[in-house]
Amino acid sequence: MIGTARLHRRRVSASLGTAVTLLCALLCAGALLVILGYVVVQGIGSVNRAFLTQLPHPVGVPGGGVGNGILGTVIIIAIATAMAVPVGLLTAIYLALFGRGTVPETLRFLSDVLSGVPSIAIGLFAYTILVAPLKHFSAFSASFAFMMLMLPLLVRTSEQAIRSVPQTVREGALALGMSNFRATMRIVLPTARPAIITALLLAIARVTGETAPLLFTAFGSQFWETNPNRPMAVLALQVFNYAISPYANWQAQAWGGALLLILAVLILSLGARYMLRQASRRLES
């Protein structure tokens, strides 16, 4: 009798425990759905053609949009990507192909350290080397900060991608008398390409909504600015500024901007997932 009572108690606590874990998992997923739902409901009303294509209006004048912010986001990320990809890929190739011993291990450690550095500190770095000496804010300095944020992700994931290309494929190329350079460019990198693109998409997703380093690099602008040497409007920055403003129509615009940001990040994440599936399929067969 005592035995069965104990067994019963154990069963009850097991079910309770499982229920708690389920609840916690649902709580996390639920939090996302609540936030997403809120942003959609609040933001959908603000998003229309004018919102996507027009300049911001001054306080008190209804309407206006974040067109210049969207453009600025694209420009700044494009420049950041153009800088991050060569440096990141070269470092990844170095780590994957030549990477044993103390120096590469140190580099990997530094890369991991960089991935943990708060974005605001990286923004300060961009400010001290690109803004303070030139005495003006610029989109380029924001691109520089974004590049620093993208690099660790790009380096480590691309290294993994290059490593996951079977050694025999590389040796097959070398055994044919190809140079290391050609074997890498023509055989190894194309095989790793889907995984590298995954890494790139994730890196872009990471900086798309990034705001902190923009405060004192891109700074923001009221105009259609395309010169990277001048201050530029950025969508995330507009969301921040509108959100902390006391005006109801600006706050509504903040929700609309947040909706755009979430959509962009969502699309990038789904794209990354799709590429990842491609990558694993390529290596399976």
């Binding site: 044993r100 494929v169 070398l174 055994a175 044919l176 008398g177 194309p190 095989t191």
Partner: protein
């Protein structure tokens, strides 16, 4: 236990080693091997797992040195020229000594056609490319099976076809020597038979050195067989080289006899 290394060299070698040793860090994986491979014949390297056959093979086209911490001492003579001599270009050497690997390793992102002409076919126009590919694929007995799908991915081919594609890829460079590292290890019996038949045909054009751990295969396909065994330190030694027929019937070393009669695992 380690007597003087045997230096019985079948006459007329296109490729030969002279006192060749290979190392992984401080571990000596292959020790003091001197052997000459007979021109336009198949030489089989046999021996139990871990006896250094594959390492020896990888020394012959300077692939061994790509492994981290690996190095080589001694000489490898290709037409009496030491391929390890300072100033020799490993890329040029690898074009003269082709290699086929244990598992088929076609380049996954290139088409069947581009795989066949991967070595040096980049500057050819499409017509010339197909010409070179056809010659190589015919030599590898694959042309009829793939001629209608040259632009497809090689990953759609069966394992045996992939391996023949890799053979075609190596043959396309018109090498003098063809190294084969257990070319049928990952294939089924039927695909294996096709490759074995192919090896006999290829031997009319190339000097072939093939690693196998299957003694029946060595007996079937090779003209000359070399037996290797690891000594107490784990260093692979060449025990005996002879005509295949003689080595399998009247081995001169008791260790060879133990191995071919199945007294080693």
């Amino acid at each position: 236990m380690t007597a003087a290394p045997p230096t019985i060299a079948p006459a007329g070698g296109a490729l030969a080693t002279d006192d060749l040793s290979a190392y992984y860090g401080t571990l000596e994986a292959v020790g003091n091997v001197s052997i000459a491979f007979r021109r336009k014949s198949v030489t089989a390297l046999i021996g139990p797992s871990g006896c250094g056959k594959t390492t020896l093979l990888r020394c012959l086209n300077r692939l061994h040195e790509l492994t981290f911490d690996a190095c080589v001492s001694g000489r490898v003579l290709l037409e009496d020229c030491d391929i390890y001599e300072w100033g020799m270009d490993p890329m040029a050497i690898r074009r003269r000594i082709g290699m086929v690997f244990q598992r088929p390793n076609p380049f996954p992102t290139l088409s069947i056609l581009d795989n066949a002409v991967a070595c040096g076919g980049r500057r050819l126009n499409r017509r010339a490319k197909i010409e070179v590919a056809e010659r190589a694929l015919r030599a590898a007995a694959l042309w009829d099976e793939v001629k209608d799908k040259l632009t497809r991915s090689p990953l759609q081919l069966s394992g045996g076809q992939q391996q023949r594609l890799c053979i075609a890829r190596a043959v396309a460079a018109e090498p003098e020597v063809l190294l084969m590292d257990e070319p049928t290890a990952s294939l089924d019996p039927i695909a294996t038979a096709v490759i074995e038949e192919l090896m006999a045909r290829l031997a009319e054009r190339f000097t072939i050195v093939a690693v196998t751990h299957n003694m029946q295969q060595a007996a079937r396909v090779s003209d000359v067989t070399a037996f290797m065994l690891a000594d107490a330190d784990g260093t692979g030694r060449l025990i005996e080289v002879d005509d295949t027929a003689k080595l399998f019937t009247k081995p001169s070393d008791p260790r060879t006899e133990d191995y071919i009669t199945g007294r080693f695992g």
